[in-house]
């Protein structure tokens, strides 16, 4: 595993650029890592948050998705879809929810408020803090964050693409080639991280077949 610093410098070494382009390389690496962390890597972090007197937990803006909430004793709180929850509003709460089946398991519950920057805790008295497992927005990576080995190639491809975008002498064809190379690397990363099994792949094929069949049926009607 590598750090952002090592990736940024390896590009300079490979392209024979001097240290004067380090910051450009680092900024591109940071942007790419943030995007990958949010959308593809989805690294689950755990952090202790304060609960105020009204039972509200205020995130610092770095939480993209809550995976689980734990009380002081380490017991997991149940997820309450609530009326203000985005899950309840957009109707996506159901089998696809990562916390389905955990409702009211420990007496205490939490509700994710719309906008997902706050939690509403209820049924837990005297809780000063809660432990929240969450998927970050990528901004909580730091100098010591080790980059997933599969993400390295994507970050390197992104930096090279950004260098071409900034260059006045790169042709449009060159820029497009590097962009598609980056997209290809992200596809590889997604496929590696997807962790699909044979039944899931079979189901995807079946669903595709069903859709074609129904389209045919509709056309014939």
């Amino acid at each position: 595993m590598n750090t952002l610093d090592a990736i940024a410098k390896s590009i300079l070494l490979r392209k024979r650029f001097s240290i004067h382009w380090y910051l450009d390389s680092l900024i591109a690496a940071r942007d790419c890592l943030r995007d990958l962390t949010l959308h593809h890597l989805q690294i689950v972090n755990t952090k202790r948050f304060n609960v105020d007197e009204f039972g509200v937990v205020d995130f610092d803006g770095s939480v993209a998705d809550v995976v689980g909430v734990f009380g002081c004793s380490g017991m997991e709180l149940g997820f309450n879809p609530g009326v203000n929850s985005r899950d309840a509003l957009d109707g996506t709460y159901g089998d696809s929810s990562p916390v389905s089946g955990n409702i009211f398991v420990s007496g205490g519950t939490y509700e994710i408020l719309a906008g997902r920057d706050k939690l509403n805790i209820s049924g837990v008295s005297g809780a000063g803090t809660v432990l929240v497992s969450y998927i970050g927005d990528g901004r909580d990576a730091d100098a010591a964050t080790h980059i997933d080995v599969y993400a390295e190639a994507s970050i390197e491809a992104y930096i090279l693409w950004q260098f071409a975008e900034m260059s006045r002498t790169s042709s449009m064809g060159e820029k497009e080639r590097l962009e598609s190379k980056y997209i290809k690397q992200v596809d590889i990363l997604r496929s590696v991280k997807a962790n699909w099994n044979i039944p899931q792949l079979r189901r995807i094929v079946q669903r595709a077949y069903t859709r074609r069949y129904s389209e045919l049926t509709i056309n014939n009607m």
């Binding site: 610093d5 392209k15 024979r16 001097s18 240290i19 004067h20 680092l26 900024i27 730091d142 100098a143």
Partner: protein, 206 residues
């Protein structure tokens, strides 16, 4: 600030112990060649070759000169600074100041463009350049983002882009720090003194 011509004249004055004579054993041209050799050896001049991301190329006939033990002074704002020993060739992105390292060569400082330090301030993750030390070029001085003296770094090594020594004419300002000018004159005097002594001995015999 000194040129080949001035160095050669000073060496000839010392050799002749006064106003030089036309028939001296050492000619100015000999001293010019020796100046080139001295500067090459003293500042470890090496061929400069780098690639710019824009595809531009660095002009030929540039060299990198290494200047060691450049002092670092504390500033009151929590940063520190050093003076450039010579004026490097002006190149895009200040590549003329090719690298600045601590005396052991273990830590390389990160160059920042004039406005970048302010822009970086509110950038999460990279606002402290991942814990590394940055520097900005301000006229003839280098300002570091931290006080290096607190890290026990009191001197740095700079590698600066200068012209190949053969490219300097007799009257061009040479890339020699003011503090080293006297050393070079003395070293050249020591190098040529035996030749002058031999000639004088021959004249006495005759």
């Amino acid at each position: 600030v000194i040129s080949k011509k001035v160095i050669a004249e000073q060496v000839k004055y010392k050799l002749a112990a006064g106003f030089p004579d036309l028939g001296d054993a050492v000619l100015e041209q000999d001293i010019f060649v020796a100046i080139g050799q001295k500067v090459n050896a003293k500042y470890k001049l090496e061929y400069f070759d780098t690639t710019l991301p824009s595809g531009e190329t660095i002009p030929n006939s540039l060299s990198l000169a290494t200047y060691e033990n450049i002092p670092v002074a504390s500033l009151s704002n929590g940063r520190s600074k050093s003076l450039l020993p010579v004026t490097p060739i002006s190149l895009p992105r200040n590549i003329g100041i090719f690298s600045i390292e601590d005396a052991n060569g273990e830590v390389t400082f990160i160059p920042l463009l004039p406005s970048q330090r302010i822009l970086l301030k509110n950038q999460p993750l990279i606002n402290d350049i991942l814990g590394q030390v940055g520097y900005e070029v301000r006229n003839k001085s280098i300002e570091y983002s931290v006080d290096l003296t607190l890290w026990n770094i009191n001197a740095v090594t700079m590698r600066l882009a200068v012209l190949d020594i053969d490219q300097y004419s007799e009257t061009d300002i040479l890339p020699i720090p003011a503090s080293s000018e006297e050393d070079i004159v003395n070293e050249l005097y020591a190098q040529f003194a035996p030749e002058q002594a031999k000639k004088e001995a021959k004249e006495i015999k005759a």
